[in-house]
């Protein structure tokens, strides 16, 4: 981690100091479904004043402003929002192809940035953004909220404590049984609203859904993939989209650990799920809980006729045991709230976020490698220059 860098080596070029009691003056660029969702959470947080919103679609902008402070300003041109010197930080929640130009412009304007995942549209942008963020001295966080969620902290902890034994595989899926479209009133707006269907704007299910899981595997293994194979297609939703409606990839991590990452848009059984396979147990991570399934190893049998020991609850045999996390009585919050709280903390104390430009780069490059593997039907390798 380059965590120490921010405080010492770089002096923010523009950003003004924000006291611990001060509210952070925030603007949101992109108040579509995700941006408005973030605004809803931000509204309840004492850390922020949401003072500006920007969106090219009038309904979205209106929705954003309805969640913002009184007198908040509305923009259709994000550069105008960035020109407002009173704004400390911006959330960028726009289609993927806009992430890089908007993030670069926001850095130039001296804004701290919370950029939604995934980080960039392509690999060169990811590499370049790392350089630009590093020289800026600004706080730059990627919206991988699960890095801030107690559930994943606990899973990482029990992996370290060897509850699962030797871990050899991850099985990740992010499935849904829907066309993944938003309704479009004016046909001219199809590509602006349903940008997820088009490669011109994003990487499809891998960049918009599985991105979280790839980042989670990177986080849990403290590594990044070495290579990847994949197959994808448009075999179910033949509705004019050109991003995959199904993709299955296998990432190879250091020491032969493999992670399959799948998205299927025609089946929703256990829609979001990450299974971690160890030789002692399996952990299955679902949306807001995780279960452990111990392996039944009868190493006691044969030697003796019976075993005396503390009672094994029958629920621990063959069925899952829920992984407890968090403190007793602690409120269960939306994981994004923890991510946004930490962003505020980083802005105030000039800390490097846990989900930062380098972990963001690793995620984005892995996504592009996975799509490239499916597109070319050839193994894609992590190149040394990606992380030089």
């Amino acid at each position: 981690m380059a965590g120490a860098g921010l405080t010492s080596a770089f002096t923010p070029a523009f950003a003004k100091a924000i006291g611990s009691a001060d509210k952070i003056r925030l603007g949101i660029i992109g108040t579509g479904s995700r941006g408005a969702g973030l605004a809803t959470l931000i509204r309840e947080m004492p850390d922020y004043d949401l003072v500006a919103c920007c969106d090219i679609i009038p309904e979205n902008l209106q929705k954003g402003l309805s969640l913002a402070a009184k007198n908040a300003k509305g923009y259709t041109d994000y550069r105008k929002l960035l020109d407002d010197k009173s704004i400390d930080a911006v959330v960028i929640a726009t289609p993927l192809y806009l992430h890089y130009p908007m993030a670069v412009a926001a850095l130039q304007a001296g804004k701290h940035i919370y950029l939604e995942k995934s980080m960039t549209y392509d690999i060169p942008q990811a590499i370049d953004l790392v350089k630009k963020v590093k020289v800026s001295g600004l706080v730059f966080q990627i919206g991988y909220q699960y890095r801030y969620y107690g559930l994943y902290h606990r899973v990482k902890e029990i992996m370290k404590e060897n509850w699962l034994g030797k871990i050899t595989h991850f099985e990740c899926q992010y499935n849904r049984n829907s066309n993944w479209r938003f309704p479009v009133k004016d046909p001219k707006m199809e590509r602006a609203i349903n940008w997820r269907m088009y490669r011109e704007y994003c990487g499809g299910p891998l960049s918009e859904l599985c991105a979280h899981e790839i980042d989670v595997v990177n986080y849990l293994t403290d590594s990044r993939p070495v290579k990847v194979v994949g197959l994808g297609g448009i075999n179910y939703w033949k509705d004019g989209r050109d991003t995959y409606d199904n993709i299955r990839t296998v990432y190879d991590y250091p020491n032969g650990v493999k992670a399959s990452v799948t998205s299927v848009l025609s089946n929703a059984y256990n829609g979001y799920s990450i299974r971690i396979l160890g030789d002692k147990a399996t952990v299955e991570i679902l949306r807001d809980k995780a279960l452990i399934y111990p392996e039944t190893t009868n190493n006691a049998k044969g030697v003796v006729d019976g075993v005396t020991g503390a009672t094994i609850a029958v629920t621990t045999q063959g069925t899952g045991v829920e992984v407890k996390f968090g403190k007793p009585g602690e409120a269960q919050l939306e994981p994004t709230v923890f991510a946004l709280k930490d962003f505020a903390e980083c802005v105030r104390n000039k800390k490097e976020p846990v989900s930062n430009v380098e972990t963001g780069r690793d995620g984005s490059i892995a996504i592009h490698m996975g799509n490239a593997a499916a597109d070319t039907e050839k193994v894609q390798y992590w190149k040394p220059e990606y992380s030089a």
Partner: protein
């Protein structure tokens, strides 16, 4: 011709296994499961409407059935012999600490514990013929610490009544054996497991014993506990302090003539600590015990009462 017969299943929230050696089947699973049903209807805090739950909900008293009467009688006896360390009226504390029928997320503070302690103490129970009475309405009992051992005895008694005299009955790690394995006339071997790190690790054998005609049970908090601020809270609550037991003993294995005795004492021995446990054992020559405990430097060691050695099967004979 002597055959080996086995019945295995689930009961009392855990598994059971019965093995016997005879020339005929003599017992079937339906019979065993109906025994467990009758035990649950009487003794289970997890079953709504059970006799024990009706007593807990009652203001004054209830009429006991045979199961509850036997378990209460034995519990009162052990309450006296352990200086109150084993106490079935601990249930309100067990619930407050989140180990009752309904798990909780909260932890009681010391004021709450003090308040609950007013309802705890087997001196607040009275038995008049078949009636079990409480002196104050808030008294509630939990016989989980002894019921499993008692169940083993009930099943063993059933086998014996059917003419079976070579058997092993095991319910959730509590065991009773009688006779030998036929036709080879071999003694039955029982593994004592090493406490696992996690709540669900498969058992690993640390010692092997053979106890002839008798029972062996093990108590330990390594499978059932809660974590709070990095500290493991044992499911065994000290009825005197009202707080979870924090002792050096990780597991206590007790050999006794019957399983209700072994099971009735094992929690108390664990709560008494090594020295206290040996004091209790000195007064009970019919009981032997083996302890796995944590030494002050953090390493794990074991120790046993003087008479325990005769049960241990030498490594060469395992």
């Amino acid at each position: 011709m002597q055959e080996t017969y086995r019945i295995a299943g689930q009961a009392q929230g855990t598994t059971y296994a019965i093995t016997w050696y005879a020339d005929r089947e003599l017992v079937n699973k339906t019979q065993i499961d109906s025994i467990f049903k009758s035990l649950d209807a009487s003794l289970s805090i997890y079953q709504s409407g059970s006799l024990i739950n009706r007593f807990n909900a009652s203001q004054k008293s209830i009429e006991m059935d045979g199961h509850l009467a036997r378990v209460v009688e034995k519990s009162m006896e052990i309450f006296c012999q352990t200086g109150g360390l084993s106490d079935i009226t601990v249930y309100p504390l067990v619930r407050a600490w989140g180990f009752g029928a309904k798990p909780t997320d909260t932890m009681p503070d010391s004021a709450t514990v003090r308040e609950i302690l007013a309802c705890v103490g087997s001196d607040k129970l009275q038995v008049r013929d078949r009636r079990l009475l409480k002196t104050i309405p808030c008294v509630q009992i939990d016989v989980n610490g002894i019921a499993q051992g008692y169940s083993v005895d009930v099943v063993a008694g059933f086998l014996e009544a059917r003419g079976i005299s070579n058997y092993m009955v095991e319910v959730g790690g509590e065991i009773r054996t009688k006779g030998l394995k036929l036709p080879d006339n071999e003694p039955m071997k029982i593994g004592i497991e090493t406490p696992s790190v996690t709540g669900f690790d498969a058992p690993v054998i640390r010692e092997v014993i053979s106890i002839g005609d008798g029972a062996v049970t093990t108590s330990g908090s390594y499978r059932k506990f809660r974590e709070s601020g990095g500290i493991r809270l044992s499911h065994i609550i000290d009825p005197k302090t009202g707080f979870p037991v924090q002792r050096e003993i990780i597991s206590a294995t007790v050999v006794a003539p019957d399983a209700i005795t072994a099971d009735g004492f094992d929690n108390a021995l664990l709560a008494a600590g090594i020295n206290g446990a040996f004091e209790i054992l000195n007064r009970r020559p019919d009981m032997q015990a083996y302890f796995i405990y944590r030494q002050p430097d953090g390493t794990v060691a074991d120790t046993a009462s003087a008479g325990f050695g005769r049960y241990v099967v030498a490594k060469a004979d395992r």
